[in-house]
């Protein structure tokens, strides 16, 4: 079966810094793929390339065989790539429902249809009681949920989660994990960036480990925790077996 999302030979430099060097991997339909690595490994840069926010210097990103790279974030969103942001970007002059409606308008032209879709998504994300509240008044974990809801309202095929679970208390993180599983159960493919391994590894089927802009290894969580290169990248040479 061909992959849903293909990243092939993607490189991106910012001035003298090579953020991504020749990165290639596939994402299968319906899987949760983790994108992990230490700070500065190039995770968010790659994310921005997939979401169309930046254009790779070389290489290609394809969704269902159709080239996405270079089309820009609007076209990527319309073709089914939705994302959340590492630093939450809610529309603070709007209510929670209005925030999600902005996403829903990507698929619905009429406001009645967009509102109905947004209400359904809020129900799914457990934010219904907060529907009429201004977005700025939400707690940090609720804001993360709002970002997921907004992204889901665009009816994506691939959802990119940028450190959605980072900085949450264990209980909050647990309910975040449940939400991600529920999203997967809807048939939506997920790529998630995290740098906290113990959160991400139990959740994902496979993970791509980036280090210094390059792919260090790709494998199941069990393979990754045993990989000496990964241990070296995270903990230093002293701990490498």
């Amino acid at each position: 079966m061909p992959a849903l999302l293909e990243i092939s030979h993607v490189s991106k430099r910012f001035g003298g810094v090579a953020a991504n060097v020749d990165i290639s991997f596939d994402v299968q339909q319906g899987e949760i793929l983790g994108l992990i690595g230490p700070n500065g490994a190039g995770k968010t840069s790659l994310f921005n390339s997939i979401a169309g926010e930046v254009t790779p210097d070389s290489g290609e990103i394809r969704l269902d065989g159709v080239k996405l790279s270079g089309l820009g974030p609007v076209a990527c969103a319309q073709r089914g790539v939705a994302r959340t942001f590492q630093v939450v970007r809610s529309f603070d002059s709007m209510t929670v429902l209005e925030n999600v409606m902005v996403g829903a308008f990507a698929k619905h032209a009429s406001s009645t249809a967009a509102m109905k879709a947004a209400v359904d998504v809020l129900e799914f994300c457990g934010l219904s009681p907060r529907m009429d509240r201004p977005a700025w008044s939400l707690s940090p974990p609720e804001k993360r949920r709002l970002e997921v809801a907004r992204a889901l309202a665009t009816e994506p095929r691939v959802l990119l989660l940028d450190e959605m679970l980072t900085g949450l208390t264990p209980t909050e993180a647990q309910s975040g994990v449940q939400l991600i599983r529920d999203v997967q159960a809807r048939g939506i493919t997920i790529v998630m960036v995290e740098h906290v391994m113990e959160i991400v590894l139990p959740l994902v089927g496979r993970a791509v480990v980036l280090n210094l802009g390059q792919v260090l290894t790709i494998g199941t969580p069990a393979e990754i925790v045993k990989n000496p290169d990964v241990i070296r990248a995270y903990l230093g040479d002293r701990y490498a077996a």
Partner: protein, 327 residues
């Protein structure tokens, strides 16, 4: 479905009908021409400020060059009347079209800038328009254009001494801008504009096309401003670059919306209802001194209003479930 958005929109419709009825009845008992004139100017500027609000409020693109659309609208209907015989009642739609197109033309380069840089660019474009008209003989140059009086007529939008017909013309104009803002606020465009205003990056990631959203807001905003300019020209009967294109008109158009509350339906009207009488009364009672006391008072009022209610005077009337709109 029941939620704050639907409840609010129901209230807005009710409020709209009540205010429209009140404004339609307001001038009937008033016989004093000075007060009639003041009401007409207030309602006209409520409409102009609402037009500005579409771009500057909902879409968050602060334009300080709206005098250009206002002035060009006035010139378009006037020149079409004088040189081609088109009745100004139709000419104001031509003014809408030309000013709307002009706003697109200005937006094309200027929307590549954002924030303060965009605002500065609009100031410059407005000044360019003023200087062009000042030196362009075909449009009367610095002398301006008189609109000859051909007898009372709705088609020509000319009325000898009666103010009442003009009142209903400006009221129809203001109501049209309000209705447009109301309909757009609940539509895909309105949501896109507010998203663009709040966070461009997030809006893009949700499939909102930033540039075309801004262009659509600019076209509507510029178009309605041009229409208001055409009505104003017809009302005063004489225009020259200083009376319709000068930079201070850009401020006069934006100020009621800013003071009353941007990206709200009622802010522009409330702002105009406070500012226009304040400016008029301070001028008529204190203006003759030559010491500028009227402007100090007027300016002081704006400063106090802005300090006390940074979200606009409309927030005085805010309801609990409206927090998100005002915040």
């Amino acid at each position: 479905m029941d939620n704050a958005i639907l409840r609010r929109r129901k209230r807005e419709v009710l409020g709209g009908v009540i205010v429209l009825a009140a404004l339609a009845l307001l001038p009937l008992p008033i016989k004093d021409v000075y007060t009639q004139n003041l009401i007409i100017i207030t309602v006209l500027f409520a409409g102009l400020a609402q037009a500005w609000n579409i771009l500057g409020g909902y879409c968050g693109q602060i334009s300080l060059g709206h005098a250009l659309y206002f002035g060009v609208g006035g010139y378009v209907s006037t020149l079409l009347y004088l040189k081609a015989g088109l009745p100004p009642s139709l000419g104001l739609f031509a003014a809408f079209g030309v000013s709307g197109m002009l706003a697109l033309l200005v937006g094309w380069p200027c929307f590549r800038l954002s924030g303060h840089y965009y605002a500065i660019a609009t100031v410059v474009v407005g000044e360019i328009g003023y200087l062009l008209f000042l030196n362009w003989d075909f449009v009367g140059g610095a002398t301006g254009v008189f609109i000859p009086f051909h007898g009372e007529s709705w088609a020509q939008l000319q009325f000898k001494t009666a103010k009442l017909p003009y009142h209903y013309v400006v009221l129809a104009f203001a109501a049209a801008t309000w209705l447009t803002a109301f309909l757009l606020e609940g539509s895909r465009w309105g949501f896109a504009w507010r998203a663009v205003k709040d966070d461009v990056t997030a809006a893009r990631s949700l499939g909102v096309n930033i540039f075309s959203s801004k262009m659509a807001a600019a076209a509507l905003s510029g178009g309605f401003t041009g229409m208001g300019g055409a009505i104003y020209a017809q009302y005063v009967g004489y225009i020259d670059p200083d009376s319709v294109l000068a930079g201070h008109f850009s401020i006069l158009i934006a100020l009621p919306a800013v003071l009353g509350g941007v990206s709200t339906l009622w802010g522009p009207l409330i702002g105009a209802a406070v500012l226009m009488p304040a400016s008029e009364l301070s001028r008529s009672y204190l203006g003759g001194s030559g010491r500028g006391v009227d402007l100090m008072l007027y300016g002081g009022l704006i400063v106090i209003g802005a300090l006390a209610r940074p979200q606009g005077l409309v927030s005085l009337f805010g309801r609990k479930d409206d927090h998100a709109r005002i915040a």
